[in-house]
Structure formats: structure tokens, C-alpha cells
Amino acid sequence: MPASKAIATENSAPIIWVQGINKTYASGFQALNNINLEIKRGEIFALLGPNGAGKTTLISIICGIVNSTSGIVIADGYDTVRDYRTVRATIGLVPQELHTDSFESVWATVKFSRGLFGKAPNAPYLEKVLRDLSLWDKRNVKIKELSGGMKRRVLIAKALAHEPTILFLDEPSAGVDVELRHDMWRMVRELRAKGTTIILTTHYIEEAEDMADRIGVINKGELIVVEDKNVLMRKLGKKRLTLTLRQSLASIPAALIGWNLTLADDGSTLIYTFDTQEEETGIAELLRTLSEHHIEFKDLRSTESSLEDIFVSLVHQPKGNAS
């Protein structure tokens, strides 16, 4: 590795450093606006955002598929444009769309990918990748004869063929069955355990909640939050106490105005929303107040915001409010 070109390669340094990336397409559409992002070595980073938010454009710029309008990306200490050869050899990409060479066999296409990325042939390694993805039995089958889920597996195998240390998974679970999703996430965990850094985008936010170490939310080309998943859920998460009343209420009684309450199910359910960050939840006082006003309930349960709730609130809140 030529040390003169490496900018920062210590283990503590981010493996990917995105600085001031902007992308405006020829049509004038600004897909990315001043993106600054650091991906830690060995983490699973989930990039979330609605359709058209700029996730794929950002990934494409890091991988070298799309030119940025301005800004720089450093991957593993190397500039992705100037030192593209060093950088790209370390990156694997599973694209969102099922782009495959229909007339090639599974074996031929993974062999092609390994060679294209500058690696010497290694049949035992490729066999292992195919076996891990349950593709070994299909190695001589033409890709056009495979199902959508199997094609997705082929794309993953192609991305892993050159043993990358950084893996981008752009909507890897879109359109695949539960079995493959489980297989895939098991493999992602194994890769992470071996030190591979994984950046994924997904529409299945529960997957991000389950898998990711850190979350980034991008909306309309701007990165609105980047946070450790647990911190994000603690900071932005809400809890709800749901009370099923014995007798329905027509409206919230005057004595309870001021509490963060909503009435649901034709007045038979009272919902109290409170902040997980507050020292006092106020539950005991609320229950006491209800009792004083003879409002009886037959059931109560507490629920916490999911990452999906947080994501929805983030992308729908006015610009500049994320923190």
C-alpha cells in the first residue's frame, strides 16, 4: 500500500469519510446537498430515507458509478477519485435493481466479478460464497432461469467475489422471501464479525432496527440525522400508555387537559404519550388523577416508538428540526 497516498488508515479513523458532497444532475435536479458523513470501521450503518431521497446516488458516488458535482470521498484512507484503483478493490456493491447478465451461468458471472476486481482465480473461495448463499447447486444454471430471489443471491455473490472489506447493500431485501432475508442477515452478521464494514439501505426499517449499529436518515438530498441507533431511539423515541376504559368518554375531561392525552376508539381508549428522556414519566400522577375523577379502566399497556415511528416523524418534520 503506497503510504504517500493514504490519508488516514489507523483503525480509529473512519473507513469512509464523505465531505461536502453535492450532486446536481444535468436536468437541474439536486439529488444531494452538502452531505457530510463518516462511517466507522467494522460497523453496520443503515442509511434510511424515502424514495428519491438520494440514498442510491450517495452510494453510487462512493462506489464510483456516478460523478459528484463537488466534494470528496475518502475510503480506507484513499481518495475515491484519485486513488480509484486501490479504493474500488476494497468495495463490494449489491445494487438495488436486479441487473444481471441473463445468458451467463452463475459460476461464470461470479468468476467474472472476481477477475474484474483484479483478484486471481480462487475456485474454493467462490465455491464457499455460493454454498453460503445456497447457490452452489445452481452454479451451472443460466441467470435468466433463476427466480428474483435467486438473482438477488447472485448479486450478493458477485459483490463478495473479490473479498471486499466494505460492502454496500442497496435495498438488498427488496422483493425477496423471508428465508432469503434471514439467510442474508445471518451472512451480514458473519461478515461484520470478520471485520467487514457494511452500509445498507432498506425499506424494512425493522431490519435496520435489528441489524444496524448506527442510523443515518436522508431526506430530499440532505442528511438530517446520523446517530447511534440506541441513542437515536432514546432521544427521539416516545412511549405510549394505552388505557382501555370501562366507560367511554365523549371528550377528555377538563381536569385532564394539559396532559398529553388523546382519545381513540370512540372514546373507549385513552392514550398518554410521554418522552422517554424525561426523569418523571407522570404515569403515577395520571393514574391518581383518573382515580380521583372516577375514570376507571380495565386494561393498560405501554408501548415504545419503533425506529419506523422515529423515521416517519423525522422525514415529515419541517427542515432543520432534527437533532
Binding site: C63, E104, K111
Partner: protein, 253 residues
């Protein structure tokens, strides 16, 4: 140099060629055979010799060149357009390969196929017309140089085209007419003086003339000029492809 990358692209493209070997070979060989039957035998037998060469033999270099140009352009343009169309180009763009390595892989495979076809057509011609090659090494050199240059030109068309129609436009509307008017079937000395001058603006004239010289030692234009013009066109194509990869025109934007 990413040798494994070049090999991967070259083998991938050659595998595509061998998958469609029958279609790739049958049509040009059949068409060429028809040319020899019609122009070489039926019409050629009633025509006099040109520069002491029988008409049937005279058209061989032109016919080989006609196929070589069309096949080189078609192979290379299709080779790079298909991944663009199918979306698989993402892998090429994200791979650690330089533009020159991409070119060696794609253009090398396209030129290999064209040269194979050119040799096959020469063999087919032998069935219909007896001929000899005066300068065999120069013949091979012209064959290779033309195949590489026009494969490079085809590669550019494949980068430029947005649809399959555009892919066909340049070979159909530009290259074929230029080849027919480039002396494939006649010596440009047979043209009226004004057209002899105009036809010198046709780059294919130089290719056919040089190639024919390697067979029979006769040429419409100076051989050095033929080689110079071909290298000039090759250089122009290289500069354009370098610019495309540098700016990302149509592929990274």
C-alpha cells in the same frame, strides 16, 4: 495494470461471441458468398481486368474490408451498449479498471472476432476465386489495424447510443455507404476526375486501397498515406474514449 480485469472482460465478450457463433458467422459468410456469385462470377466474368487483376479477385479486399468494418463496429458497440442497457455496467464502473484496460478488454475481443471473420471470408473467397497475397504480413497488419480502429469506433457508438436504433444508424447510414463508395467494387481511377478528388475525403478509400495493395501490389492512394490515415483515425477515437471516461459523459452522470 489490472491484468485479471482485462482477462475477465475479454473472456466475457468472447464467451458472448461463441454463444452466438452460428449467427455471427453464417450471415456474413452467406452474404459474401452471394457477392462472389453475383459480382465475381455472373457480372465479373463479363468485365475486364483492373490493373491486371480479374474483377472477382479485385473485389476480395473490398468485401473483406466491408465485413471487417461492419463486424468491428457491431461487435464493439453491442458489447458496451448491452451492459448499459441491462444496467450491469454498474459493476464495470465500480471496478478498479482504467479506461485503457476497459478498452483492451472490449475492443480486443471485438477485433478478435472481426479478424476471425475476415480470415473466414478470405477462405470462403478462395472457393470462388483464385488469388494470391503479395504482402501477407502487411495484409495481416492492415487487417489488425482496421479491426482495432473500427472496434474502437464501434465502442464509441456503443457509449453514445441511447437505444438500439441509434446503435444501427451509424453502421447503416454512414459506414456501409462509405464502404461501397470507397472502392470496394471499383478502382477510384474509374471515377470522373472531380469524383476522384471528392472520394479522397472518404476514410474508407485509404483502408481498402492499402488492403488491396497488400494483396496485389496495386493501390489507388499511397500506402503510407493509408497507414497514416488509419492511425490518425485510431488516435482520434482514443482521445474521444479517454475524454468520455474522464468526464463520465453518458456513463457516470
Amino acid at each position: 495494470m489490472n491484468i485479471y480485469g482485462i482477462r475477465a472482460i475479454y473472456h466475457f465478450e468472447m464467451a458472448r461471441t461463441f454463444r452466438t457463433l452460428w449467427e455471427s458467422i453464417a450471415a456474413p459468410v452467406l452474404t459474401t458468398s452471394l457477392y462472389f456469385i453475383v459480382f465475381g462470377k455472373a457480372i465479373g466474368s463479363r468485365m475486364g481486368e483492373i490493373d491486371s487483376v480479374s474483377y472477382g479477385a479485385f473485389i476480395i479486399p473490398g468485401l473483406v474490408m466491408l465485413n471487417l468494418l461492419n463486424e468491428s463496429i457491431s461487435n464493439a458497440s453491442f458489447g458496451i451498449y448491452m451492459p448499459r442497457w441491462a444496467g450491469t455496467i454498474y459493476e464495470l464502473l465500480s471496478a478498479p479498471v482504467s479506461w485503457i484496460e476497459v478498452l483492451i478488454g472490449y475492443v480486443g475481443a471485438a477485433a478478435t472476432k472481426s479478424v476471425m471473420l475476415g480470415i473466414l471470408i478470405l477462405g470462403t473467397a478462395r472457393i470462388f476465386v483464385p488469388y494470391e497475397i503479395a504482402h501477407p504480413w502487411w495484409m495481416v497488419a492492415f487487417l489488425l489495424l482496421t479491426a482495432v480502429t473500427f472496434s474502437l469506433f464501434g465502442f464509441i457508438i456503443g457509449l453514445w447510443a441511447d437505444n438500439f436504433q441509434k446503435l444501427q444508424v451509424v453502421p447503416m447510414l454512414v459506414v456501409t455507404p462509405l464502404t461501397f463508395l470507397g472502392g470496394a467494387f471499383y478502382s477510384i481511377n474509374m471515377l470522373p476526375p472531380l469524383w476522384q478528388k471528392i472520394t479522397l475525403f472518404n476514410p474508407v478509400v485509404y483502408l481498402i486501397s492499402g488492403f488491396r495493395w497488400s494483396f496485389y501490389g496495386i493501390a489507388d492512394v499511397n500506402v503510407a498515406m493509408s497507414i497514416g490515415m488509419t492511425f490518425g483515425f485510431l488516435t482520434l477515437c482514443l482521445i474521444f474514449v479517454w475524454w468520455v471516461f474522464k468526464t463520465g459523459y453518458k456513463i457516470r452522470n
